[in-house]
Assembly symmetry: C2
Homo-oligomer: 207 residues x 2
Amino acid sequence: RLPVVTARRLPLYYRYLQTLVALGKQRVSSAEVSAALHIDSATIRRDFSYLGELGRKGYGYNVDYLLRFLQDFLKQDEIVKVILVGVGNLGTALCRYDFYRSKQMNIVAAFDVDPLKLGQEIEGIPVHAVKDLESFVKREGVEIAILAVPASSAQVTADLVVRAGVLGILNFTPRTLSVPPDVRVHHIDVTTELQILVYYLKRGQRQ
Amino acid sequence: RLPVVTARRLPLYYRYLQTLVALGKQRVSSAEVSAALHIDSATIRRDFSYLGELGRKGYGYNVDYLLRFLQDFLKQDEIVKVILVGVGNLGTALCRYDFYRSKQMNIVAAFDVDPLKLGQEIEGIPVHAVKDLESFVKREGVEIAILAVPASSAQVTADLVVRAGVLGILNFTPRTLSVPPDVRVHHIDVTTELQILVYYLKRGQRQ
Ligand SMILES: NC(=O)c1ccc[n+]([C@@H]2O[C@H](COP(=O)([O-])OP(=O)(O)OC[C@H]3O[C@@H](n4cnc5c(N)ncnc54)[C@H](O)[C@@H]3O)[C@@H](O)[C@H]2O)c1
Ligand SMILES: NC(=O)c1ccc[n+]([C@@H]2O[C@H](COP(=O)([O-])OP(=O)(O)OC[C@H]3O[C@@H](n4cnc5c(N)ncnc54)[C@H](O)[C@@H]3O)[C@@H](O)[C@H]2O)c1
């Protein structure tokens, strides 16, 4: 089983290795990866050992092997359809963000309740009315929904996307969502990220 | 040493325990915490053991003890000053987000280069010109900067905040920043979070 902290680093390794392939490089050492990604090399060696690639002393790691493995892990070949619900400040920034760095994710549509936003397009992503969400998800086979609605609409929006058939939710709202056991919810909270940063800063200062 | 995945959950525990204190509850079981936060109870027990609170069978955990410990861990009593650089879509959403759930964090000011934004206030946070950033950070003793500038300005902004004396950076830009060893950079990337969600969804489907 792959620890979440390792899974979190896989896309970074994947993107870096892709640049190496483009440069025609076939081997790479953990020290080179460490210098490029600012991850300590012992962590890199441990991560790669989870992928079954143990590397050889003096030779380093085989770039092609690692890339094929990561491709499979991240299922880069399967396109996963994502919808965004809530096209306010945060939602707009997410639409404009360069997701296509990962060929795998595509925000295929966004949904809102504000009549002024409906019918617009943001970086090519159409904004539809929430009342059309359920039929859109069923027709297109959408698997993931990003929630960027106000806190007061969080649970009702979660209920809607679950009813429509979505299996994964990326939740930016500050509410803990209640969903059936087969739906996976990941929560992003900048407050938590900041508190962790502070915790490590203060620890560093105390030592 | 506290694992990062545990540190990431501490603010969730802290907020939940605060609601218990408000309700006058003195003991709580890992099963109750698990039901409220949707975290599996074996993980909760392991996390709490890092905090030195082992709980007693049948009695549960002492809410006051845990809260005092978490307060110290998260340094909730020390106010940490945070600045935001880049007040576009993402920056605006971050200013409007309810950080004061954690008394510890305060975005004290935001900075931008766009003359139309300067002199405005977003939810009480003043927007200043980037040229005033260095003197502001030095005068106010700011410790953390959130970067929400375009990718093309990422490194130059990191250099500026490091020169000003900031010790921690929360980086939303897609660039890997190069900073001196005593500055800590945490990176937030929605693409990575989505890829992890997909990885676990696909794994669940394969099993
Ligand atoms: N987790 C984090 O770190 C973080 C950071 C910033 C913001 N947020 C959260 O993200 C959410 C969005 O923030 P924002 O600043 O973009 O808010 P916003 O008010 O700018 O945008 C909300 C959008 O949702 C739309 N909306 C309202 N009800 C809806 C519904 N039922 N269905 C579909 N759309 C609906 C509104 O029309 C609006 O366009 C908020 O819940 C906020 O708390 C989280
Ligand atoms: N990590 C993620 O998951 C994620 C998600 C969304 C957006 N982003 C990133 O966040 C950043 C902001 O995105 P956005 O949609 O808000 O962009 P935006 O264009 O709406 O906002 C950028 C803001 O930065 C200001 N700015 C430009 N140069 C500056 C400088 N040198 N100093 C200070 N301010 C400057 C602009 O005036 C503007 O107000 C981008 O780098 C984007 O790629 C990351």
